[in-house]
C-alpha cells in the first residue's frame, strides 16, 4: 500500500515536472496566440483540449501554465522554508525573550486565514508573479517557524546535543550540524503538504481575481476564468480542474509515502499543521 502511494505520487509529480520542462521546448501552439474566428471550439484533432474564449489552444495553455504553477508553488515553499527555518531554529535554540517575541508575532500572523493575508498583500503590491509568490510565502512562513521551533526545542535537551555542546562546538555549529539535520523529516513532510496547499490557495486567489495576472496563467487561473463558460464550454473547466486535482493528489501521495518512510509517528504533527 505505502509503496503504491509512493510510486503513484512520485509518478504524478515527475510527470508534472516533465510536462513543465517539455513546455519550454515544445508546445503545439503559441499559448498566447489568439484566433478570433476560432473561439470556444470543443476538443478536436487540431486542438486536443479545445480552444478558449479568444481561440487560444487550451492544451498549450495548460502546458505553459504547468511551469508557472510549478514555479509559484516551488518558490513559495522555498521562500517560506528559508525564512521560517532560519527564524524558527534560532528562536527554538536560543529560547528566552527572542523566542517569545517570535512566537507572539507568528501567532499574530496565524490568527488570520492565509487567504486574507495574501489578499491584503496583493492589494497593496498589485498582482504579479513575484508578488503572488511573496504574498503566499509570507502567509505560510509562520507555520514553518512553529514546526521548526518546536522540533528544535524538543531536540535541544537531548543527550547527543548536550554531548556536542560539551565537546566544545560553537552555538551555530551545534545548530547547523546537529539540530537542523534532525528536523529534516518533519520539515520535508510539512513541505509537501504546503506545496499542495499553495496550489489550492493560488487557485482560490485567481477566483477572486488576484492570482497571477494575464496573459500569463496558472492552472488555477485557467480554472477560475472558465466559470464564465461552464455550461457552453465545459472542457475549459474540466481539463484544468482535473489537472490541478491530479497534481495535488500526486504531491499529497508523495508526502504520505515520504512520511511512512521516515517516521510514521510524525503523522499527527504534520496533519495538525495541515489545517
Amino acid at each position: 500500500m505505502r509503496d503504491i502511494n509512493m510510486v503513484v505520487g512520485a509518478g504524478l509529480c515527475l510527470l508534472w515536472l516533465l510536462v513543465a520542462l517539455l513546455s519550454v521546448v515544445y508546445m503545439p501552439y503559441d499559448p498566447l496566440a489568439m484566433a478570433l474566428d476560432g473561439r470556444l471550439r470543443p476538443p478536436s484533432v487540431d486542438h486536443w483540449m479545445g480552444t478558449d474564449q479568444y481561440g487560444r489552444d487550451l492544451l498549450s495553455r495548460i502546458l505553459a501554465a504547468s511551469g508557472v504553477s510549478l514555479m509559484v508553488s516551488a518558490l513559495t515553499v522555498l521562500a517560506a522554508f528559508t525564512a521560517g527555518v532560519l527564524i524558527g531554529a534560532i528562536a527554538g535554540y536560543l529560547g528566552g525573550s527572542f523566542d517569545r517575541l517570535v512566537m507572539v508575532v507568528a501567532e499574530s500572523f496565524m490568527a488570520f486565514p492565509s487567504l486574507l493575508l495574501v489578499l491584503l498583500f496583493l492589494s497593496i503590491s498589485g498582482p504579479s508573479i513575484a508578488a503572488v509568490i511573496l504574498a503566499l510565502s509570507i502567509a505560510f512562513t509562520p507555520m514553518v517557524i512553529r514546526v521548526t521551533r518546536s522540533s528544535v526545542f524538543s531536540l535541544r535537551e537531548q543527550q547527543f546535543i548536550e554531548a556536542a555542546r560539551l565537546s566544545g562546538s560553537s552555538k551555530s555549529a551545534v545548530l547547523w550540524r546537529h539540530l537542523l539535520p534532525n528536523c529534516v523529516s518533519p520539515l520535508s513532510i510539512l513541505a509537501t503538504s504546503m506545496f499542495a496547499n499553495v496550489l489550492l490557495v493560488e487557485s482560490a486567489l485567481s477566483f477572486l481575481g488576484l492570482g497571477v495576472p494575464a496573459p500569463q496563467a496558472t492552472w488555477g487561473a485557467l480554472l477560475a476564468d472558465s466559470r464564465q463558460y461552464l455550461a457552453v464550454a465545459p472542457w475549459l473547466s474540466l481539463y484544468p480542474g482535473v489537472v490541478i486535482t491530479l497534481a495535488v493528489v500526486g504531491v499529497n501521495l508523495l508526502g504520505d509515502g515520504l512520511r511512512d518512510l521516515v517516521d510514521p509517528r510524525l503523522r499527527q504533527l504534520v496533519e495538525g499543521q495541515n489545517a
Binding site: V105, F109, A111, L119
Partner: protein, 314 residues
C-alpha cells in the same frame, strides 16, 4: 497548575491582538486606492474629492487616525463604514453569525462522517475499506473547493433544480427552507474537511490500536465493536478534535470563496468586499473579530485537550 496555564494563555492574546490590529491598521492604509475616489469618481471633481476625504476623516495624519481609532476601540466602538455609513459592529456581527452557522454545520457533518470512517479504516488497516477511505480522502482534500461548488450548482441547481443556488435564509425565518439553502454550501465546505479529518482520525487510531492496552483488551476477549467504540475511539478522538477546532477557526474567516459562489452574506465575503471598497473601518473590525475568534477557538481546543485525552498532562 492548569488554571495558571489558562490564565497565561488568555493574557497572551492581548498583545497578539494588539500587534495584529496595529499591523492591520497600517497595512490597510498602505493599500493603493482611495475610498473617497470610489464614491465621487463619476463627478470628476478634485474639489469634491478633497471635501469627501475631509468628511470621512481620511486627510488627517496617519498617526492621528491611529490614535483616534485606538481610542474608539478602547470604548468598544468600531466606528462606521466608509462606503455605507452603517455602524461596523452591527455589520460584522450579523455577517459573522451567518458564517458561523454554516461553518459549524459543515464541521459537525464532517466530524460525524470522518470519525467513523477514519476509525473503520484503521481497524481494517491495509484492506480494501482502508484503501478506499484513504484514496477518497486524498481526492477530497485535493480538489479545488470552488470548482466542486460550481459543479454542484450546475448539477443540483441548474440541471436538476433540486436545490436553491442563490442567497441565504435564516433558520429563524423558515427552518426547512434554511436547510435547503444550506445543503450545497455545507457540502462544498465539508468535503475538504472530511478528507483532512478522516486521515487524521485514521492515523491516530492506528497508533492507538497498536498500543499495549488495546492488545490487552483484545486478549481479554472483548468484541471488536467494544474495542473500537469503548477503547480506541475515546483515545483517538482528541487529536482529531484539535485539528477540527483549528479548521473551524480558519474557516470562520476563510470561507470567502464559497460564500461568494453561493451568495451567502458572511464575514468572509464582507472582508473581501470591504478590501475592494477600501472600507478601512470594516476591514479593521472584521479582521479583528476573525482573529479574535480564531485565537479563542484555538485556545479552547488547547484547553479542552487535556480534558479529552487522559494521557496528556500539564
Amino acid at each position: 497548575m492548569y488554571w495558571q496555564y489558562v490564565l497565561r494563555r488568555v493574557l497572551l492574546t492581548v498583545p497578539t491582538l494588539l500587534i495584529a490590529s496595529t499591523l492591520v491598521f497600517m497595512v490597510v492604509r498602505l493599500l493603493p486606492g482611495d475610498p473617497a475616489l470610489l464614491i465621487v469618481s463619476d463627478a470628476q471633481d478634485p474639489v469634491l474629492l478633497e471635501a469627501t476625504r475631509e468628511r470621512l476623516g481620511l486627510n488627517k495624519p496617519l498617526i492621528v487616525q491611529y490614535a483616534l481609532w485606538l481610542r474608539q476601540m478602547v470604548g468598544l466602538d468600531m466606528g462606521v463604514s466608509i462606503s455605507t455609513g452603517l455602524p461596523v459592529a452591527e455589520l460584522i456581527g450579523t455577517r459573522f453569525a451567518v458564517t458561523a452557522r454554516i461553518v459549524t454545520i459543515a464541521c459537525l457533518v464532517a466530524l460525524l462522517l470522518a470519525v467513523p470512517l477514519g476509525l473503520l479504516a484503521a481497524a481494517r488497516h491495509n484492506r480494501a475499506l482502508d484503501r478506499g477511505v484513504m484514496m477518497a480522502s486524498i481526492l477530497l482534500l485535493s480538489v479545488p473547493s470552488f470548482w466542486v461548488a460550481l459543479l454542484l450548482i450546475l448539477l443540483f441547481g441548474v440541471t436538476l433544480r433540486w436545490l436553491p443556488t442563490v442567497g441565504y435564509v435564516s433558520p429563524s425565518e423558515d427552518l426547512l427552507l434554511a436547510l435547503k439553502f444550506a445543503v450545497m454550501p455545507v457540502l462544498a465546505l465539508c468535503l475538504t474537511v472530511i478528507g483532512q479529518l478522516a486521515r487524521m482520525m485514521r492515523s491516530t487510531s492506528l497508533d492507538v490500536l497498536a498500543s499495549d492496552y488495546i492488545l490487552f483488551a483484545r486478549a481479554k476477549g472483548l468484541s471488536e465493536q467494544a474495542v473500537l467504540g469503548r477503547h480506541a475511539l475515546p483515545n483517538a478522538l482528541a487529536p482529531t478534535l484539535t485539528v477540527a477546532g483549528m479548521i473551524f477557526g480558519a474557516l470562520l474567516g476563510g470561507a470567502a470563496v464559497i460564500e461568494t459562489i453561493f451568495t451567502i452574506p458572511g464575514i468572509g465575503r464582507l472582508l473581501v468586499d470591504s478590501i475592494y471598497a477600501r472600507d478601512y473601518p470594516v476591514i479593521q473590525g472584521s479582521v479583528l473579530l476573525v482573529g479574535f475568534v480564531y485565537i479563542m477557538v484555538n485556545l479552547a481546543v488547547d484547553l479542552l485537550h487535556p480534558l479529552l485525552d487522559p494521557r496528556v498532562e500539564y
